[in-house]
């Protein structure tokens, strides 16, 4: 079985700063993989490289295409092309479309799954009408899954913080990705909300058959749901293993867990 995402020797330099230093990582289908590490370790930079926002300085990023199952090297590909291949992400600092409604936000997520363009917009042919109807229905159902249906027609920026985080996940799911990348989804949530999120992520994984790559600081969440944990520090891979192995790893405890988390 080929991994959905395989990253080999990935390096990313910002001027003189090496933010990522020969990172290797794999995500297989139906897996939840976590990426942890102290602030500034390079986790978000890793996401940005994988989703095409940055072009990595060195290394290979290989992705199994969602549609034809072919393996493609995606270094330097535009973000929208990468999304078309089946990767969808959320952002650490929420990036919704603030003045659009909740439903519209999710509908935007359907972009790669729909086709209509100028002609369809002007003439509203049968195919376009059908597509629009389907977009609304699918988006609404996703909102339901994420318990956001009561906000459908609200302006996104009016939502409470936790709901905004879930809306980002909903929007990403609308693209029907094979790999979902979540950047600190529990940031700013209270323990109760975090617990709900945990269930939600597991439920999404089961129902949507999507693999998940997760950046998260909440150790309980990470250890509960991930099958594989990667620890980065100063852009370097410090350790890799099952949650149990990571918890017992001397280097990890020293570098990261020991300080302020006693998970």
């Amino acid at each position: 079985m080929l991994p959905i995402l395989e990253v080999k020797d990935l390096c990313m330099d910002f001027g003189g700063l090496r933010a990522l230093d020969h990172i290797n990582l794999e995500v297989f289908s139906d897996q939840i993989v976590a990426l942890i590490g102290p602030n500034g370790a390079g986790k978000t930079t890793f996401f940005n490289c994988v989703t095409g926002i940055y072009e990595p300085t060195h290394g290979d990023i290989l992705v199994l295409s969602r549609d034809d199952g072919q393996r493609k090297r995606i270094n330097g590909l535009k973000p929208n092309k990468i999304t078309e291949l089946g990767l969808a992400r959320t952002f650490q600092n929420i990036r919704l479309f603030p003045n659009m409604t909740v439903l519209e936000n999710v509908m935007i997520g359907r972009h790669t799954r729909t086709r209509s363009w100028i002609f369809g917009a002007l003439f509203r042919d049968k195919k376009t009408v059908q597509e629009e109807q389907e977009t609304v229905e699918v988006s609404y159902n996703i909102l339901k899954k994420l318990q956001l249906e009561k906000y459908v027609n609200e302006i996104a920026s009016n939502l409470p913080y936790g709901a905004q985080r879930r809306l980002e996940i909903a929007r990403a799911l609308a693209a029907e990705p094979s790999l979902l990348l979540l950047d600190e989804p529990a940031a700013g949530m209270n323990p109760k909300e975090t617990k709900q999120l945990e269930e939600l992520i597991l439920q999404i994984k089961e129902q949507e058959r999507v693999s998940i790559l997760l950046i998260e600081h909440d150790m309980k969440l990470v250890m509960n749901i991930s099958e594989m944990v990667y620890v980065v520090e100063y852009g370097r891979l410090l350790a890799k293993g099952s949650p149990r192995e990571i918890k017992e790893d001397e280097r990890v405890i020293k570098a990261y867990l020991g300080e302020d988390h006693d998970a």
């Binding site: 989703t51 095409g52 926002i53 535009k78 973000p79 929208n80 999304t83 078309e84 969808a88 992400r89 952002f91 990036r95 919704l96 479309f97 603030p98 003045n99 659009m100 409604t101 439903l103 519209e104 509908m107 935007i108 997520g109 972009h111 790669t112 729909t114 209509s116 363009w117 100028i118 369809g120 917009a121 002007l122 509203r124 376009t128 009408v129 597509e131 629009e132 109807q133 977009t135 609304v136 229905e137 609404y140 459908v152 027609n153 609200e154 302006i155 009016n158 929007r171 990403a172 693209a175």
Partner: protein
Amino acid sequence: MKGFIRSLQVALWFMFLTFPIMVIKVDIVEKTVQWRWMNLVYVGIGSFVLSFVWRFLMEKKNKGIKAREESRDEKLSFIQKILTEPRYNRPLFLGLLLFVLVFPWMFSTYQTNIMISALLYVVLGLGLNIVVGLAGLLDLGYVAFYAVGAYAYALLNYHFHLGFWTVLPIGGLLAAIFGILLGIPVLRLRGDYLAIVTLGFGEIIRLVLENWDEFSFGPSGISNIPRPGFFGLHLTVEQATIYIYYLVVIMSLITIFVVNRLQNSRLGRAWLALREDEIACEAMGIDRMKTKLAAFALGATWAGFAGVIFAAKTTFINPASFTFMESAIILSIVVLGGMGSIPGVILAAFLMILLPEYLRAFSQYRMLLFGASMVLVMVFRPQGLIPNVRRKYLYGQKQGVR
């Protein structure tokens, strides 16, 4: 009371500042100095009242913001309610349409001509609304596409005797091509950089038209452009004006229809998303380049159409009709009306074109009033006169698109 004292201070300060120009008048011929103390009083009272009103409005505005933050859900304004509820908007629209249709029979040719201008600006405003209001691309050179349309008709008619109806689609198409040509190099730019480059583009087109005599006949322009033909009949000037009037009405209706459809489509949503957050937009799989180019091209098309009609209406064009001032007016229409709001843009187009016409008495102060009203709107109604209302979708048993 505090506000009163502040306003008094402002008034005194203004009296002091304007003292040299408003009060002292030196007569060089008779070598005397006039002291116009009355002016000082006017300035004092005027600035006091203005400052007081300003303060009052500001307070009201701040209260409004607080109230809105507390209640959380956005309240539709009275106008928006009327416009969105079919019960109210149907009769309103019908009434308006009826008025527009009988207009040329009730008013003089002169009035009809003014209406034609206003409606042309509706088309231009709605066209630019695609680029600025929906896609959020600040385009300060929109008038260039208007010029392309106008010169397309004038030149194609001059050289090849092509008629109005033949050139109308050509003009739109040419403008669209120019839109793409401008779009390609500036796609990477954002915000103010984009504004400056498009401004330059507009000026380049104008300068080319002004200086390339062999091509465009320079500043003297092109005259004797035929009015649109009507099944080969010969029309008097009055009849032709009425004919063009209806043509522009139909054009406006088509524009409204098209922009409305675009707005509520996959493409329209992509534009809005692009305006809101480019990075998130790309991460959701939207091709930034393609989407922006579509906005530039579709926006320019309407300017092209409007340009052809403009040339046919005035029968004479020269580069002076296509200065930056035009771009600024069209942009003001979009901003004043409310970015992305069709009724807003229509209302603003009428205000911007009709008010100056009927306030000729104030013509000296036109620019001043223009600037002041822009500032006022931006401070007190930053969303525009009729802010855009996001579309609501219905579900339930009858799931799907309304």
